[in-house]
Symmetry: C2
Subunit: 219 residues, 2 copies
């Protein structure tokens, strides 16, 4: 698939870009600064021994069937306002933002709209192909390509076909993608990340994750 | 330990009562109707081949070091208002309520106070030894004593010592009790249950649960 990553120069976006490119997808990363996007794409291409393209946000979005938004929550609303002008209705948009509130990132703080993804839906207006997910894999794990992801990737959304596409893309990361319900369930998925951050600290773990028991699906 | 279960005649309370009694704890179940509490205690004692006592809520609460509240959300506020008059400050109170909103129980709906446990804290006022947990084990699994619980039990609370007591009691259920952070993290724990209910339906599972990856703790 044609995948564009908005905020693809950050840690999480970089890991996703390299893993999807290795799985055979055509990946473009976008930065607010086109030169920085190109430079980071060269670095990641070399690191993962694949071809990743880079440029500004528009260059990452326009040719993509799936647009992944991985920006810090502080840039979330502005990014989606900019996206609104660039998207066409067929494009699937995936919000992976977790609304952490520093410095107490191990404590749940709901954003005003209850979840970042519901706020994104509000900003985008009538764009139905919005899904949310990939909130529980730590960025260092994603970027450590030799590290198999042994936790699940939960995906929610109101458009079943769009959700299914993203579940398959989660499988392609080497994890197990699972259907976590409607977009409103992003409240639970996003809020669970501070719990994992707390457990990282208490149990001295590098990157805790979630695995759902009682489901037969393998990847 | 001396454990009292308020709402102990329901499915979840019954499973907890039998498993803790089998682990050697002294368990009392309470019902609004004392006779019903006694009768149910006799049934459970026979089923689990242990001694479980029963009576009204007051009889379950007064001698107990740990009071577990497992009532439907519709009875939650009234139960905690009644509890306020009966508790002493040393008693640990554990809220296991999940605020589901039928009929769409596979969709996250936050209660007005963001979580049932935060609403309980508001009602109890200055009772610091309130913790929340055990939101993710299905009641039929708890009551099927031959069934080992292969998922984790997440416990949150602001009083570290009270939280640690409940984590040990979770271990005694045959699951792995884990520290999930401050009481505000009950927002995430409670909201995750509709996600599990959704996955039960989508994947035809009897009872999905949560396991945290990346943590070394065994029980």
């Amino acid at each position: 698939m044609q995948i564009g990553l908005v905020g693809g120069t950050g840690k999480e976006g970089s890991g996703l870009a390299m893993r999807w490119a290795q799985a055979g997808h055509s990946v473009r990363i976008g930065s607010r600064d086109a030169l920085r996007g190109q430079e980071r794409a060269r670095e990641l291409s070399e690191q993962a021994q694949v071809t990743i393209e880079g440029g500004d946000h528009q260059q990452a979005i326009l040719p993509s069937e799936v647009v992944i938004v991985c920006v810090p929550y502080s840039a979330h609303a502005a990014t989606f306002r900019a996206l609104r002008e660039l998207l066409v209705p067929e494009q699937i948009v995936v919000d992976v933002t977790v609304p952490l509130r520093p410095p107490r990132v191990g404590r749940v703080h709901l954003p005003p709209g209850q979840s970042a993804a519901l706020e994104a839906a509000e900003i985008l207006g009538d764009h139905p192909r919005l899904v949310a997910g990939v909130h529980h894999i730590s960025a260092p794990h994603l970027a450590a390509l030799e590290y198999p992801i042994n936790s699940d990737i939960l995906i929610c959304g109101d458009d079943k076909q769009a959700k299914q596409v993203m579940i398959s893309l989660a499988d392609d990361l080497g994890a197990r993608g699972l259907d976590a319900g409607v977009l409103a369930n992003s409240i639970a998925l996003e809020a669970f990340t501070p719990v994992l951050i707390h457990m990282n600290k208490v149990y001295g773990a590098r990157g805790t994750g979630v695995r759902i028991t009682g489901i037969d699906k393998d990847i």
